[in-house]
């Protein structure tokens, strides 16, 4: 289970992240940030598809993306 966190006031809406996501879940939102850029986001519906590969963060020129991974629990529940 992984997720990304986009720091919206840093995002410049360049959309480079959208070109490298292996599961294609990053899109341009309709939200403008304070600088006037339409920020990138992962829609809620697609959030669980994130693989935590960090490709989006790696290509982000604004260091606006943090990536989190939750390691699988060992053993059964």
């Amino acid at each position: 289970m992984s997720r990304i966190e986009v720091q919206e006031d840093r995002c410049k809406g360049c959309l480079l992240c959208t070109t490298v996501c292996p599961v294609d879940i990053i899109v341009q939102s309709d939200r403008f940030n304070v600088s006037g850029y339409k920020v990138a986001e992962v829609p809620e519906a697609d959030a669980d598809k994130c693989t935590g590969c960090a490709s989006c963060a790696m290509i982000c020129p604004d260091v606006a993306i943090k990536v989190y991974r939750t390691p699988k629990k060992k053993g059964g529940k």
């Binding site: 360049c14 959309l15 480079l16 070109t19 982000c60 020129p61 604004d62 260091v63 993306i65 991974r69």
Partner: protein, 256 residues
């Protein structure tokens, strides 16, 4: 939700200052300097780093990396860096320059710092234009590329051809490592970071002068969207400026 177990796998490097940058959307400078910051952290170099910044969009780099820096005149960073390294040989000294700065006005300084084999590292961000000043023709502008000073497209007969700096630098005796990478894809970014690391190691191991060229985009001055600009690197720049290692004198090295 098991958020308590989640760990962060990608975060801002410590050496990169937490602030918005002035760069245009999609400008690859942000990737380039983040890679530098990552390496300074990973290699434990930040505390001994002396950075010689240059003129261009790169001029504000000292606002983005948390290291000591001196602002150099246009093109002169390799000379300023030579002074830094000769004065404080135990420091980690690097320059960060664009194509106008390094290959035009600074051509003598980069050639001679490289030829002398100064034990320093050069990060060369090549986006085929003068960005900061509004998109004029640069030494690496491609034939036919329209810029504000080559409005009908760079003409070979009157304006020469684009200069391939990595190849030229690799031909100089004093150079330990010269490579060209690109920042347009994850694969290329990973490789570019490896090249930068090798270059930095040439300094820390005392092997010699390291030079890494990074093909980058300039959406604003190319009059493209960030995505189009990123694609142009792939379709137009890489064919003319081939990626790879052009010189590597280290033991495990070798030219690709």
């Amino acid at each position: 939700m098991s958020e308590m177990n989640e760990k962060i796998v990608f975060d801002k490097p410590e050496s990169v200052i937490d602030r918005a940058t002035h760069y245009c959307p999609g400008c690859h400078h942000g990737i380039a300097h983040r890679l530098v910051g990552e390496l300074l952290d990973e290699m434990g170099l930040a505390e001994k780093t002396l950075m010689a910044t240059s003129i261009g969009c790169s001029v504000f780099l000292y606002n983005y990396l948390n290291v000591d820096a001196v602002e150099s005149p246009h093109g002169r960073a390799p000379a300023v860096a030579t002074g830094l390294k000769r004065a404080r040989p135990d420091s980690f000294v690097f320059t960060y320059q664009g194509d106008g700065d390094l290959a035009s006005i600074g051509m003598a300084e980069i050639m001679h710092a490289a030829n002398r084999g100064e034990n320093m590292s050069v990060v060369f961000v090549n986006n085929t234009v003068y960005g900061m000043t509004g998109g004029q023709m640069a030494p690496t502008t491609l034939i036919g590329q329209k810029t504000t000073t080559s409005p009908t497209g760079r003409c070979e007969t009157t304006q020469g051809s684009p200069i391939r700096m990595s190849e030229i630098i690799a031909s100089l005796g004093g150079v330990a490592y010269a490579a060209r990478g690109s920042l347009d894809s994850i694969k290329n970014i990973r490789t570019a970071k490896k090249y930068l690391k090798k270059s930095f190691e040439c300094q820390t191991n005392g092997t010699g002068f390291g030079f890494v060229e990074l093909l980058s985009g300039c959406p604003t001055n190319w009059k493209m969207t960030p995505l189009q600009a990123n694609e142009r690197i792939q379709t137009e720049m890489i064919p003319y400026f081939p990626l790879g290692v052009y010189k590597d004198i280290t033991e495990d090295g070798g030219v690709c």
